[in-house]
Symmetry: D2
Subunit: 363 residues, 4 copies
């Protein structure tokens, strides 16, 4: 094993502690627990150990916090949660070739063995064997997190930590927008939660000519317009679909980005879509949806795209380009930052809707 | 108006009768009526009058024959029905520039004013103002039919009348297969009605590597295999989806062509589709479908295509190429031919399932 | 012919003169001649007669003005020149169905019979039988111009005449940019003539993340930056390709838009393009180009797109959307306007480079 | 390093020799040298050691054999040559996760660090840092070859060794054909060398409706027709382009696959291509080509694709599907097989043109 010998395992990190602060899902119930004696993970030969600087709280983290049916069915009790982060490489495994300690990085949280069809053809985001950090294994709400080399994303020097911490959800928006190909097109975003709002600024930066949005909440609609929406509608207003058609040659929008997970929004969104339009679906529905496929998909000749995660790593490159363009307006979206120790307040701020995207500073 | 003067209206058709034989929807009820004194239509300045040679009976004609709710709600009593045909140009209108009497032609039955977005961008098949011959206006179950010049399709000399009469439904199959891009891919066809069967031979000719089919009827499954299906499954057999996955790297087929209009088939078809696969939906569902969009579309990262009619005229060119390849096996699909006067027997043969595609000879 | 009778030819335009002012190519030599007694054209049954308001002078018009080898070989002496315009419909032919007098319109100048493969599949801009107004037949440097109904484009009310007059060249830029798919990508524009400059503002509006430009002329480079270019290089500077690579992950730009027609720019542009990038070529070369296809196309795995005219009418819809976005900055591009009678000054202003796009007011 | 400890390095291969038979480029001149004492390579932690069964001789190997200018400039004297092979995994490195000894495999010979844009977005075949086995480092004309885990391709049980040995060149043909999207299209293959011939059977299996070929050699033309070409032309015959147009609606073929690397063929091929057609270029040209880009690319509105290697691993999956379809006819292409020791005869058989694809049996 001369090759291994030639690349000695990184051992010279004398000051690294053996335990760390972390938020763990300590029991099969609500909330998380702060601990200060979690063992620091040891990277395998192909892994990278990252010292976490800032993390974002995702809608998924809310499900875990509230311990709903989905969380109870999936999350192993005892894991460190969290999957949105930025940090600095602390140590690389013996077989790692592309990274070295000191680099500022984020990471794609979907981990695959790179052996199925999608992994080997540029679509690893929908690999059949995916495990997600902070959901299926230890995540980033901790001082250190460990991911395979292939998942690491070097963060461009011009991107501040606060934004680098939320590349994961921003990537959901970028993936949806880019899959739908919005350039020089009219776009409808149904639902302006965190990803919906991000999608508005992303779609505008990516060249959407006109962006319409719907949301029940007038504050969200106002923010949608501030971020670039031409018009934001209350979907309970009977006139809104007719209004959109009037704006769009009497035919409807070119693109629908479904971000609400509400079946009413789904049907209305397709009604507002022109024949031959494209619908990208990201919002998850609470239960199976009853839907008029004949009228809304087949007769319309629509293209419907299921969107999941982020393309590894086309989405990340696109995201970097959009950030470098200077056109993404994220100041009004990443609203709060707390130290890790104030995790309760951080989660409550997100859950109450007072905050949109809430970040925690770890190191 | 020198231009008009320079292109005198075609009047020299001395032997053409003023009335003709035709099948009309004579009352708001079942069946059709054969008449022999229907006035021959007069072409407008942009129209082409075609002397019909052979026609095909479509599944839509069955709905009209049986006068179901859809037919009662759409078909104007009194029209000549039928929309699949081949014939010879008899006369061209004064402003027609691309055709002349004597040419053997078929025609796209979807008529549009060519003024909306889709009409002007190569997608007239999903124009918002479409009227269909034999459904919204007089059709081809008659000695003569009139269509706008833009709808005419010159039939290649190598294509026999019997096949040329059914380019419309063959075009549905070609449109579905080509939209889904089956080349070097595994394909599942759910439902082997007339279009489903055509899709099998079309998919094979278009380069699908392996084709799987499902149908409740063992005779249809046997025919599916004869036409090129690798395997044909009874969808009531619990093992079939697992069998398909085993054939396909444990992941599923690359492409689903949904031809049944059955909600069970839809769900099963998506279950048999690999992550990132493409589903093209042509079959119409009897009512809105309850569907697990999260699991079957979003998490899978699928692309879903609503398919309607035939692309004008990309599908027709593709169909001609596929026919010229000599690889389409249509002998077992176009099973019967009757003279127009035996229209009752023709319709009954199709409705009973004894025939698959039934053709009537008019002239 | 009852149909014709039912749609009487438009004859009620009592005040229309029988002759008009026009610029004609009066001899096989330089310049144009202003005449005031050109017969007003008579529309055929499928034609639309348009009263011209404003026209743009194209680079092609310069070739015609200067009577170079290309012009001498193609332009029929005696025709009215000009192909960029906006006007108002004066009269429609007897078989016209989609337009009526009074509508403000522009038109696609490429005229086809709509019978070949490309015409019938959404790519009429590359039809094999194309004739161009102002080049092969009478154009728009006149009080009236006649085009087939299919070529008419209704101009959105929000677009001022000055811009509506130059939709043809703007469409060249939009076609090139949209074909290359610039959304969230880095772009290099080689050559900042009129279309090159338009491409910069179009690419930015269409979502290009970063735009680089090259031109020999420092004033053009300054204007390129004003219009949105991140950086504009003098291509004689040896460092510029290395600089672009440094900006672009050390690899090169995602997209090349070749607008110069210079073989050096072509080679340099491909050198600055990353592996797997897309090059859209619009600039015409003075002679066949000697080019290292192995290195610049094959090993790079590039996609090269030949761009010609504007897609009929996808480009026009995209252009309308981009104009409605409010993001196109055309004020610095459409620099001068003269009355038709000052056509000499107008052409000289364009030819000297003092003006970029020069417009003439006709009515 | 518990993870490493948990996956002990594979050491239990007691009977493996330390030296092996191999063909090496022994000096800066013609031919290769057979040696029997080449040290068996030692796999690094991410590498797989493969016991070679059969290998193919590539056109590149001819350049190396003949030591032309390209070879002299690139090939390091002393390496083992060869890059087409099938074999069995002998040993896996300590950090390898997806393979185990005993699996029958081939491998993609392009080795990248998976860190640039193309590597991370499904286009590793055009990575900027590629090294090729048998060209830049030791290859497969030996009893053992070592490649990184990511390059391994498990060979489907139904594919015989003789074919599995030549998946690399077959993949060139599949990549070219699939990039050009030939389904239901007419195709012209210029040049019927080994890849050109493979392209014919691949294009037919992938759904090309009609295939035309050109070659100077009447035997190759005869073989082209046997493999599925509708017609094979001598390109010195002035009529052939007109003949192709006549077959193709007077317009030209939909797709050009340039396989000759001859500049005349390139120009003629584009002349035979219809407007809006797609040209995929694989053949390498002896020197920069002088080419009428205006006429052949820009005015035609063509798409030109530079093709290099094989997509990693989309091409390999497509190839497997095409082989599983049973439609690839490779018997007439893989013409000869020799034991490794008869490498001189094997190379001479290939170089003389007596053989098309020549295989050598190693173990």
């Amino acid at each position: 094993m001369t090759t291994l010998a030639a690349r000695p395992i990184e051992v010279s990190a004398p000051h690294r502690p053996t335990t760390m602060r972390a938020l763990i899902k300590h029991h099969a119930g609500t909330e998380l627990q702060f601990v200060s004696n979690r063992p620091v993970p040891t990277p395998g030969p192909r892994d990278v150990l990252i010292r976490v600087k800032k993390v974002g709280i995702c809608g998924t983290d809310r499900h875990i916090w509230e311990w709903d049916a989905w969380a109870a069915g999936r999350i192993p009790v005892g894991i460190v949660t969290g999957h949105e982060f930025v940090g600095t490489i602390e140590q690389v495994g013996s077989a790692v070739t592309n990274y070295k300690p000191g680099q500022r990085v984020s990471a794609e949280g979907h981990i695959t063995a790179w052996k199925d069809y999608n992994s080997r053809t540029g679509n690893a985001h929908i690999a059949s064997d995916t495990k997600i950090i902070g959901i299926d294994r230890d995540g980033c709400f901790a001082e250190y997190v460990c991911v395979p080399e292939e998942n690491v994303w070097p963060v461009h020097a011009s991107i501040p930590d606060k934004i680098a911490a939320v590349l994961d959800p921003l990537g959901n928006a970028v993936h949806t927008v880019m899959a739908a190909n919005v350039s020089a097109k009219s776009v409808l975003v149904t639902g302006t939660g965190i990803i919906g709002l991000m999608s508005i600024t992303v779609a505008k930066a990516a060249g959407a000519s006109r962006i319409f949005a719907t949301d029940l909440d007038p504050k969200r609609r106002a923010l949608a317009k501030k971020l670039g929406a031409t018009e934001a509608f209350d979907p309970r207003d009977d006139q809104w679909i007719a209004d959109i058609r009037k704006h769009c040659r009497g035919e409807g929008v070119d693109v629908l980005l479904e971000m609400s997970g509400a079946s009413t929004a789904l049907t209305q969104g397709f009604e507002a879509l022109r024949n031959g339009g494209t619908a990208a679906l990201l919002g998850l529905f609470g239960k199976p949806v009853t839907f008029d496929i004949n009228k809304l998909v087949i007769f319309k000749g629509c293209t419907v795209l299921g969107i999941n995660g982020r393309k590894m790593f086309e989405t990340w490159y696109q995201m970097e380009e959009l950030l470098l363009s200077g056109r993404l307006e994220l100041e009004d979206i990443v609203t709060h930052e707390f130290p890790l120790e104030q995790f309760k307040k951080a989660h409550e701020t997100m859950i109450s809707g007072e905050g949109i995207k809430v970040v925690m500073a770890v190191n």
